[in-house]
């Protein structure tokens, strides 16, 4: 036999549904506020090759010409303060930058000819950025210059994910 639900029961159901929705929002908000992008410093604890999305600060790489050696491959790097342009013998171009958090710094390298425009190689790289790529703790990057060298953990970047926050604070333009 079909059971009818009276108005009082419907009100109870409404209150329960509203309460349930409020609880869902509260739990969801709490869980969201605890979740952030991993810091690049967390890579210090990574033991095997993994795909990662991390955030960090772009650290000046200096100016001048360096030699970069990664996994037996050599690049010539022209450094322009916050980023460098790396060339290989076959004429391929890469973007290079240093990504830091606390005392941990990785050398990040990305293929400028594939998914990233030349524009992003330059002025786009500043301050805090989020990058996605592959981190292998067994691969190190060696930057060599006249009279010195430094070895750093290495991050192969697939994409640079950058928020658009600062873009809204630069004034407006129109077609000239």
């Amino acid at each position: 036999m079909k059971q009818q639900i009276n108005a009082r029961d419907k009100k109870k159901l409404l209150i329960s549904a509203l309460l349930f929705a409020v609880v869902l929002v509260a739990i969801g908000y709490m869980s969201l506020s605890q979740s952030n992008y991993k810091s690049v410093a967390d890579l210090a604890d990574v033991k095997k090759r993994v795909k990662v999305t991390v955030e960090g600060n772009v650290t000046p790489i200096g100016e001048g010409v360096y030699r970069l050696i990664v996994g037996g491959k050599t690049y010539i790097v022209e450094a322009h303060r916050s980023y460098g342009v790396a060339y290989t013998d076959d004429g391929h171009t890469y973007g290079v930058f240093l990504l830091s958090s606390g005392n941990f710094t990785v050398l990040a390298l990305y293929d400028a000819g594939s998914n990233l425009s030349a524009y992003q190689m330059g002025s786009g790289l500043a301050g805090q950025v989020v990058v996605a790529g592959v981190y292998d703790p067994n691969v190190r990057a060696k930057l060599v210059w006249n009279g010195g060298s430094v070895e750093l953990p290495f991050l192969q970047v697939d994409s640079i994910l950058k928020g658009c926050h600062s873009s809204y604070q630069q004034g407006v333009a129109s077609r000239g």
């Binding site: 079909k2 639900i5 108005a7 419907k10 009100k11 159901l13 409404l14 329960s16 549904a17 509203l18 349930f20 929705a21 409020v22 869902l24 929002v25 969801g28 908000y29 969201l32 506020s33 979740s35 952030n36 992008y37 999305t53 955030e55 998914n115 990233l116 425009s117 030349a118 524009y119 992003q120 330059g122 002025s123 786009g124 500043a126 989020v130 996605a132 994409s159 640079i160 994910l161 950058k162 928020g163 658009c164 926050h165 600062s166 873009s167 809204y168 604070q169 630069q170 004034g171 407006v172 333009a173 129109s174 077609r175 000239g176």
Partner: protein, 345 residues
């Protein structure tokens, strides 16, 4: 709702939709964009005049679905259940549009189309929750029980709306917070286009709900809705095609560097397609020509000829416009079918 008021609602809707799409086209072609951006072409930000109103309209539609759910449980009238299912359906359509337009824009301005950004993911979960609403309805044969359970579900599913909105505030999101974007939106030129787009898009969304929950209007008006829908699609897609024309006919180049003379005219240009030196300085296609002493044309996509540098709107904006025209025009074009379908589910 009487047939007379159904006719009135649809007539007003047809008028508003035409204004809506024309305003969207004008915004794409005329509205201002940020003077300098970190990544990609600044013109990609013209998407803001369509993507954001679309997203806010979807939130509005889901709010109407919540109100319908509450009212059904309080009053028990079937018309409120109809309000919930029509609003939820349109909310899902607008939500899919929001995701597609956001991905196109993000591919240029964030560096990748999909980023698992908290709000991006939140909207995806929201959509899944509301698609579940229709799956749930289909699984219950008893009409009264279906309306009751679906109303409760619509109230609970609404939790995903504030969550997806708050995601940009609770976490470090690629989406800007209102305080970060405020400087741009408070510019009178931006405000004019943005506010009018938000208002008109919201009115369109609400009127679409009203037209789909009301009784079927006269056959003449129904046919008029289909004609206007087809026109909206044609006009919107034509405008999108016009905006994307340089990508089809020319080869737009990214400006990497520029040298300006004291009048702000371009003397030399370095682009991804090569270097150009102009015998006669040419007018900068961006106004103002300088940003903190740097030529503001840097980062833009342009088409260079002997005596001009023409600004190219990024293709994502054309896609965003096309998607919006397809959504609004498509709903009108399929009005009769949707009206019938949403009576049944």
């Amino acid at each position: 709702m009487s047939k007379g008021s159904s006719n009135k609602i649809l007539s007003v809707l047809l008028l508003i939709v035409v204004v809506d799409i024309l305003l969207a086209i004008i915004a794409v072609l005329k509205a201002p964009f940020p003077l300098h951006v970190d990544v990609g072409a600044p013109t990609a930000y013209l998407s803001i005049y369509i993507h954001v109103p679309l997203a806010w309209s979807s939130y509005l539609l889901f709010t109407l679905a919540l109100i319908g759910g509450i009212l059904y449980l309080v009053k028990g009238d079937e018309k409120y259940d109809r309000l919930t299912r029509v609003s939820a359906f349109l909310g899902v359509v607008y939500g899919i549009g929001t995701i597609v337009t956001g991905m196109a824009w993000a591919s240029e301005s964030w560096g990748a189309a999909w980023n698992w950004d908290p709000r991006e993911t939140g909207v995806l979960l929201l959509l899944l929750a509301y698609i579940g609403y229709f799956a749930l309805r289909q699984s219950i044969p008893d009409p009264e029980r279906k309306r009751l359970v679906a109303s409760i579900y619509a109230i609970v599913a609404f939790a995903t709306v504030p969550l997806s909105f708050a995601a940009a505030y609770a976490t470090q999101s690629l989406h800007p917070k209102a305080s970060q974007a405020g400087a741009f939106f408070s510019q009178p030129e931006v405000l004019k286009y943005f506010v009018s787009r938000v208002i008109i898009a919201s009115i369109t969304a609400v009127l679409l709900v009203a037209a789909l929950i009301s009784k079927r209007p006269s056959p003449q008006l129904t046919r008029a809705a289909q004609v206007v829908g087809a026109l909206i699609v044609i006009i919107g897609l034509s405008a999108a095609l016009y905006a994307v024309k340089p990508f089809l006919l020319d080869s737009p180049a990214r400006v990497l560097n520029a040298t300006l003379n004291s009048n702000g005219e371009i003397v030399r240009l370095t682009t991804s397609n090569g270097n150009y030196t102009f015998q006669q300085p040419v007018k900068s296609p961006v106004n103002p020509p300088l940003y903190n002493g740097t030529p503001s044309v840097i980062g833009h996509l342009v088409v260079v000829s002997d005596n001009s540098v023409d600004l190219v709107i990024h293709w994502c904006v054309a896609l965003v416009l096309g998607v919006y025209a397809l959504i609004v025009g498509g709903i009108l074009l399929l009005y009769t079918w949707l009206h019938k379908l949403l009576q049944r589910v």
